[in-house]
């Protein structure tokens, strides 16, 4: 018999889970919110999502060629970035601006730092922040949903903006369903939570970050004397906590680190919302905590099995 035996290192079995499958799961989890955005903001929401996805994929494809890297556009991570960036934009955003944000996210933040897994901040959030700095008026052109003609829609204040001025314009029901001005993917809380539940059930994300992040915001705003429910249900908190703060590359890998990181995200979000000049602080809070991830991981490194932490409260003798 001709010997064609493959000799390789154990294990010789694999779970079958691939990067592409994980990204596909994230896209499935994002789809309820995508559908909701089209229902709430009309066809233009779909168009913005398409523009962002297409320009993210093109950026990924071309940069891999220019940088002479293995082609990674097939792993669908660029699609996820595109959808997430679109979710962070007002439905009225000019398409060319959305495309610039996408290029910044993929080329500058992701590919220039080594591609998938190597970006040190969330690409979609940096895309959004670049656009906020470059096109502030277009990025704040919020419209009230369910008006039909979006481009000419009535410009209005987001719930956080109106709350900062001491008014409360929306009911809890409206906030849950998403009938309020805001970024196109952030408003429908029910759809986002549905997606989050799917990710937890599929074990794509651990529930630690979303729960601790949202919990921290709830408790801190309550202590600060604000309405914690409004804080949780408005702005980009749920979108950020479920889909942005849980980004693998930019969140701690171990559970203890995830908890510390999520508390930090919550604290910064509340500080910016209450004391900052911006009404919303989720993007900046997550990006700042992204940068701190290596330090958090170093401080919370798990001990090998059988080793006791020196400060163990109850040590077996």
């Amino acid at each position: 018999m001709e010997n064609r035996l493959v000799v390789s290192s154990s294990p010789h079995l694999h779970s079958g889970v691939s990067t592409r499958e994980i990204m596909l799961d994230v896209l499935i989890a994002l789809s309820p919110a995508a559908v909701a955005s089209v229902l709430l903001f009309g066809w233009r929401a779909a168009a913005v999502i398409l523009v962002c996805v297409a320009s993210c994929m093109a950026s990924e494809y071309l940069s891999a060629i220019v940088l002479k890297r293995p082609q990674t556009v097939g792993d669908l991570s660029a699609v996820v970035t595109g959808v997430l960036l679109a979710f962070n934009l007002p439905a009225t955003i000019p398409f060319w601006q959305a495309a610039i944000g996408s290029v910044a996210a993929i080329v500058v933040v992701k590919q220039m730092f080594g591609g998938i897994g190597h970006n040190f901040v969330n690409p979609a959030l940096i895309g959004r922040i670049v656009m906020m700095a470059s096109f502030p008026s277009d990025m704040n052109n919020w419209v009230t949903p369910l008006q039909g003609r979006m481009v000419d829609g009535l410009a209005s204040a987001t719930p956080l903006e109106s709350m900062a001025q001491g008014e409360m314009a929306y009911s809890y029901q409206q906030l849950l369903v998403g009938i309020r001005p805001g970024s196109l993917g952030e408003t429908c809380i029910i759809a986002l939570l549905l997606g989050g539940a799917y990710l937890v059930v599929r074990r794509v994300i651990s529930p630690a970050i979303p729960l601790v992040y949202i919990g921290t915001v709830f408790i801190l705003t309550w202590i600060a004397g604000e309405n914690p429910l409004i804080h949780v249900l408005s702005g980009g908190l749920v979108l950020g906590a479920v889909f942005m703060a849980t980004d693998y590359a930019t969140s701690p890998i171990n559970t203890a680190g995830k908890v510390v990181y999520a508390i930090g995200c919550g604290l910064l979000t509340v500080l910016i919302r209450i004391y900052g000049s911006l009404a919303e602080g989720v993007s900046f809070a997550i990006v700042i905590m992204n940068v701190l991830v290596p330090l958090i991981e170093r401080a919370t490194r798990p001990l090998p099995f059988g080793e006791e932490r020196r400060f163990a409260i109850w040590q077996k003798k």
Partner: protein, 455 residues
């Protein structure tokens, strides 16, 4: 000793947040109902002189010698070693060199069998009066850890602190996919298992024995529980512990933790937490040896895999070439592209089907093209699946990064030496990174650096 009567907060938290250490590997226990068939002696056997952890044996026979079943053909004067016996009667045809799976080079005794299977005249039940006799008998039986590691049993049963050992743990978890050899031992030789346990408990003066079995083997659990209840008596208690079916349940440290709640600290041995762990087939063999005096010359193997025509459990004489074993199982139905000695998670890929069966082998798996994992890997996406899966709480990606820059200090700090190469990290990696391979390389680098430091 070690009877913690308080609550350790860290370990409680660990249980809540990391109840999922290990992976849900598929079971594929296709041969569970296949009763063991005895394979007749092959034309010739190749007896490796390295069938255990420790010093290799030196052949004690020459070319042309006539040997019989149970006769010693290799032994060593080093403490950590175990004698090797012939399982056939016949004539020594050659003393050759062999490269075992994993790359170890060793000499081997090749015996041309005469088919008569004459038993060596000196085979008789050993006279055992006390602990020392018992250890001597265990050594001359040639017994090594039959779970796969091959650690000489007479060393294991002679811990530095025998008085501190209070628990004997019998490993019947058999968490590796495909393998059912230990399961068949539980079903077919229940009595021997209990006899062996009682012998070890008696000579080492151990008061409690726990047989750990995974939940997916209900028939073994009920049979063992019944037998254990019959022999249990105050001061010599034997219990069956049902374990979750989660790989690697049978890994020594994991098993001790599941059975007793004790954690073996890094770099320490089971005896440091008062335990001795023995494989179920090892302990059963021990009883047989004490009864008959026939040393370890054959072994039950699970033969399975997509390329095997008739997967089954076979009792094979140690030294039988793998090719002959596959032929006995009806041959192969498609080209074998991967041949594994042991289970698919920790087994070694073989480069040649003429290699012989070793004492500590428990499976031969032959896979067709479609079951060979593709090579190649993509970038780590830091999803943390490996970290969640690692039963030793290690951080494989950090160790991989330390290996890349050869930072041995960092590797040591990350505890790479705790890695037992169970394969959970590579199994669960969506980027198909060769993490186990990196762990092995990192351990090698660290050992090299530590040796250089000493010199």
């Amino acid at each position: 000793m070690l009877e913690g009567n308080g609550i350790n907060i860290m370990s409680v938290l660990k249980r809540i947040f990391k109840s999922n250490a290990g992976v849900r590997a598929p079971h594929y226990k296709n041969t569970a109902e296949s009763e063991t068939l005895v394979m007749p002696p092959p034309e010739r056997v190749i007896i490796s002189m390295q069938q255990h952890i420790g010093a290799p044996c030196i052949p004690t026979v020459k070319v042309g010698d006539i040997v019989e079943v149970g006769q010693v053909v290799g032994d060593s004067d080093k403490p950590v070693s175990a004698p090797i016996h012939s399982g056939v009667s016949g004539k020594v045809a050659a003393i050759t060199e062999l490269v075992l799976p994993g790359g170890v080079k060793t000499s081997a005794v090749v015996i041309q069998t005469d088919g008569e299977q004459r038993v060596y005249q000196e085979i008789k039940p050993p006279a055992v009066e006390n602990y020392q006799d018992f250890l001597k008998a265990v050594r001359s039986s040639g017994l090594v850890g039959l779970g796969g590691a091959g650690f000489p049993t007479h060393i294991k049963l002679n811990p530095p602190n025998p008085e501190a050992i209070d628990t004997l743990i019998i490993n019947a978890a058999e968490c590796e996919p495909y393998i059912t050899a230990d399961y068949r031992e539980c079903i077919e030789n229940t009595g021997d298992i209990l006899d062996g346990i009682q012998a070890v408990m008696k000579y080492l003066n151990i008061s409690k024995a726990i047989i750990g079995v995974e939940r997916n083997k209900p028939a073994a659990i009920s049979k063992l529980s019944k037998a254990a209840a019959e022999v249990s008596e105050p001061g010599r208690e034997v219990a069956v512990k049902v374990l979750p079916s989660r790989y690697p349940q049978g890994a020594e440290k994991v098993l001790i933790y599941s059975c007793t709640g004790r954690m073996v600290p890094p770099g320490k041995l089971p005896s440091d937490v008062g335990c001795i762990v023995m494989n179920v087939t090892s302990v059963s063999f021990l009883a047989k040896y004490l009864r008959t005096g026939m040393p370890l010359v054959d072994k039950r193997l699970t033969v399975d895999g997509s390329a095997v025509k008739e997967p089954k459990n076979v009792r094979v004489i140690v030294g039988t070439p793998v090719h002959d074993v596959l032929e006995f199982c009806g041959g192969v139905k498609s080209e074998v592209r991967k041949l594994i000695m042991g289970g698919p998670m920790m087994g070694l890929a073989m480069m040649d089907d003429q290699l012989p069966v070793l004492k500590q082998n428990n499976a031969i798996l032959a896979f067709a093209e479609e079951d060979v994992l593709p090579g190649g890997q993509s970038a780590c996406i830091r999803c943390g699946r490996c970290v969640r899966a690692c039963p030793m709480n290690l951080l494989p990606p950090s160790i991989e990064a330390a290996l890349k820059i050869k930072d041995t200090e960092k590797m040591a700090k990350l505890g790479v030496m705790n890695c037992m190469e169970c394969g959970c990290c590579s199994f669960s990696c969506p980027a198909s990174r060769k993490l186990v391979q990196s762990m092995r390389l990192a351990k090698g680098e660290l050992r090299k650096a530590q040796a250089a430091k000493k010199a």
